[in-house]
Structures are given as C-alpha cells and as structure tokens.
C-alpha cells in the first residue's frame, strides 16, 4: 500500500518495485499469474513465501521483503527457465 504521506514519486517507485517483484515471482517461482489467483493464492503470505524461496535460492537474507539487494538480483539479466518447479 502507498506509504501514507509518501511523495507521489515514492509511491510510483514503490509501485514499480511491486511490479518487478510480481513479474519475477510469476515467471520464475510459480506465483500464479494475476487474475488466475484464488483468494488464498492472492494473500500477501503467498507472495512472502515465494519471495523467501527466491531469497533462499540466491543466498540472500530471507526477509520476505523486497529489499534493495533482492530487487537488484531481480533486475539482473538471466535465463528464462524457472528456478523452481517444471
């Protein structure tokens, strides 16, 4: 959610980061695509779990939060094959 009182630029940057995380987890960690997610799958805890799975794979601190180091890894050029599952 936008930080109350955050500047519009901050809200935009945060929105961008959320987008990066969403896309990455859908592509490489089997997060069901938006619109295809059930109520349960859409819960923040599912995204936190997938984020921790990604952080574990890359040896990052498993914060479950899109911290700078995690976002930096997500922005690196890579192979399109998922890191987990088929």
């Amino acid at each position: 959610f936008p930080v109350p009182g955050g500047s519009p630029e901050e809200a935009d940057a945060q929105e961008m980061d959320t987008q990066v995380v969403q896309d990455y987890l859908e592509k490489f960690y089997q997060l069901p695509r938006r619109g295809l997610r059930s109520q349960r799958q859409n819960s923040p805890s599912v995204i936190v779990e997938k984020l921790k799975e990604m952080q574990r794979f890359f040896g990052l601190s498993e914060t479950g939060k899109p911290d700078q180091q995690t976002l930096a890894v997500m922005r690196k050029p890579r192979c399109g094959v998922p890191d987990s599952g088929d």
């Binding site: 592509k27 490489f28 794979f57 890359f58 040896g59 180091q69 890894v73 690196k76 050029p77 890579r78 192979c79 399109g80 094959v81 890191d83 599952g85 088929d86």
Partner: protein, 366 residues
C-alpha cells in the same frame, strides 16, 4: 546443481542439433562457432556427442526469436530474459530459444552467445538451475572469458549425475566456487574501494558494503573482463582515487570500475629490483605504499615517487607481532588488517601493536 524435476534425460547419447533461425547480429559462421563450442563444454564432461544437421528433424532445435513466439514463454525485449530451453523430450523438448532483441556478441560485451548457449544446453540435457554462483547453470548472466572457460565442477557433477562419466580416460575436473564460510578460506588480495572492501580469491571477489555489511560474491571478469584471475595484491590510493591490482610482475590501475589506459605496467616502475617478480600484499597509508614480499617489507614514497632507502626490512621489525607471511592487507581507521592463512591480525598504527586476532571469514559475515 539441480536436475530438472522428473529427471528427464535423453536415452541416446549421440544427439543432433539444428540451427533453425539465425540472429541478424552475428554472421552465421560466428553463430555456428559459438554453438559448437557451447556443446563441446558438455561433451567434454560426459559421454554425449552432438552432431549438427542442416535439414529435417533434430533433437535440439535452436532459434533466435522475438517476443511471443508461440511456446507460452514470451521474451521481453532487451535485457531481462535472454534465452530459455526445454527439458529433454520429443518435439519442443531440448529446443533452445534466444531472444533476438538482445545484443549477441562473441566478446566480453553483453551478451556473449557462447556463455548463454552453454547454459541453455544444460537445460536441453536435463539440468535445472544451480544455486552455486560460480556454476554455468546459475540463472544470472555473468561474463567469463570464453577462451579460458572450463566447466565448473558443480556442472560436471550435474551432467555426470544424469549421463555418467566422460569417455575420456582422464575425467575432467573444474573450478569450485569458494565458499565464504569455509574455515580454511584464505584470500589472495584485499583492498578498499571508495568505502567498500573487495576480497579477491581465484576468479572471484567478495564485495562488502560498508554500511549494510552485505557481502556479495562476483566474478572478477563480470566487472573487469580484461583482468586475469588470481590477483595477488591490491591497494587503494585514496589520495588519487585509484586502486592498484598486482599479479606477477604486472599491475593495473582502476578508477572505480574502469581500468586506466596504459595498463598493465611492470612493477619495476616502483623501483623493485628484477629479483622481485611478484608481490604478496600491499597497502597505502599517508602517502606511503607498503609492499609485503615473503618475510620482507618495502616502503614506497608516493611523494618522491621512489622506493625508500634502507628497505627491504623484516616485516616483524616494522610491525611487531606480524610474524608470518602476509597474504593480504588493507587499512581501516588507522589499523592495518593483515591476513595470513585463515586468520587476520589487526595492527593499530598509533599503539604500534597487534590489538586483535580473529578468523578471516568474519569479514564475510561468517
């Protein structure tokens, strides 16, 4: 390493490949050379053979395509996803697709086709991604010099877990990625760089962030493609905002992440006699540069630009308590941190004595 879920594999070991669609960015000859070399990486380490066909069906079909190309895994334009490949099987099985929107090269500029192709063919053979940052099957792109590239041990273990050992009488072995928390870990060289600390080891370096204490492992070649592996000494001249790296009788100057023009140069520039052909460690402090070679220390006066008379001296005569050969050294808050084997010794320059001894890997948060 990890095998693809379900452990798919090719039943036959003599596989065929066909390049269905070339990229417009490289000559067909370059593409064929890169692809052939990429397959050799795997045939050298396993009983697999790869034969190129130019028509009809092939086990592994290769194509450079853009955007949505009909396999439910669309590409995303420049950068991001570079390529993908399918696990062993009929039809699309084994096929490798490369994003035509990328810049494909035969050199160190992104993205080197040989490296990406070798990775994708690992998937075509049944390997999934590895968590080893030094492995070929690590998901993120990292440049390594193709001319000296050898398949890392992690990937050799992976492909041999599927197809067994190579037919070569001598089984291939490859480099293993250093692990930060290995108690036997020693460093080749250490330097500060604008507040960060870089710990060099083989073809890698750990980068420690000053405030966040985050430590990340990178290939030297990812940041400086033209630098060799196995850097032996390094120091930062904070007054000139330059980092100097040494290997054998040569040295390089870095300004941030750019290598200065006119390097490498010879260490005789500092006034070393020709008998000195390598340096163990180096550190810069208050317009003097200290060089450590075996059990001796040399001191260079950066203002006079000459080696100081009366040197070399025994290290212990200048730094009492530093009795062993120095692998690496850097300076922080008027303290020289000397690294020797798996230990480091903090030498306080004001108190003129060792004030702390601890395990080297603590600097990597272990």
């Amino acid at each position: 390493f990890m095998l693809t879920p379900g452990n798919p594999k090719w039943e036959q070991t003599n596989l065929t490949y066909r390049i269905i669609k070339y990229t417009t960015q490289l000559s067909e000859a370059d593409v064929e050379e890169a692809i052939k070399k990429a397959f050799q990486v795997w045939s050298n380490a396993s009983p697999l053979t790869f034969t190129k066909t130019s028509q009809g069906e092939a086990d592994i079909k290769i194509a450079f395509v853009q955007g949505d190309h009909g396999d439910n895994s669309p590409f995303d334009g420049p950068n991001g996803i570079l390529a993908h490949a399918f696990q062993p099987g009929q039809g699309v099985g084994g096929d490798a697709h490369f994003d035509e929107d990328e810049i494909w090269t035969m050199n160190s500029s992104s993205y080197n086709l040989f490296l990406v192709a070798a990775h994708e063919f690992g998937h075509s053979l049944g390997l999934a991604h590895s968590t080893d940052p030094g492995a070929l099957m690590y998901p993120n792109y990292a440049f390594r010099d193709p001319s000296t590239y050898t398949l890392p041990q992690d990937d050799i273990n992976g492909i041999q877990a599927i197809y067994g050992p190579s037919n070569n009488p001598i089984q291939p072995t490859g480099p293993s990625t250093p692990t930060a928390c290995d108690p036997r870990l020693t460093f080749d060289a250490i330097t500060t760089l604008r507040g960060e600390i870089l710990f060099f080891k083989d073809k890698y370096f750990w980068r420690r962030h000053p405030q966040l204490r985050i430590v990340e492992l990178n290939f030297i070649s990812l940041f400086w493609p033209s630098l060799p592996d196995g850097i032996q000494a390094a120091y930062e001249n904070v007054d000139e905002d330059l980092v100097f790296l040494f290997k054998g009788g040569q040295y390089w100057a870095l300004n941030g992440y750019d290598i200065e023009q006119g390097y490498p140069r010879d260490i005789s520039d500092y006034g070393f006699p020709s008998s000195v052909r390598a340096i163990d460690a180096a550190v810069y402090y208050r317009r003097k540069t200290y060089f450590f070679i075996n059990d001796q220390i040399w001191r260079y006066d950066n203002q006079r630009q000459s080696m100081e008379p009366g040197y070399p001296k025994a290290i212990a005569s200048i730094f009492p308590g530093i009795e062993t050969r120095v692998d690496a050294v850097f300076q922080q808050d008027h303290v020289f941190l000397f690294f020797s084997g798996p230990r480091y010794y903090a030498f306080n320059l004001d108190a003129h004595r060792v004030i702390r001894v601890d395990r080297s890997q603590r600097w990597l948060n272990c």
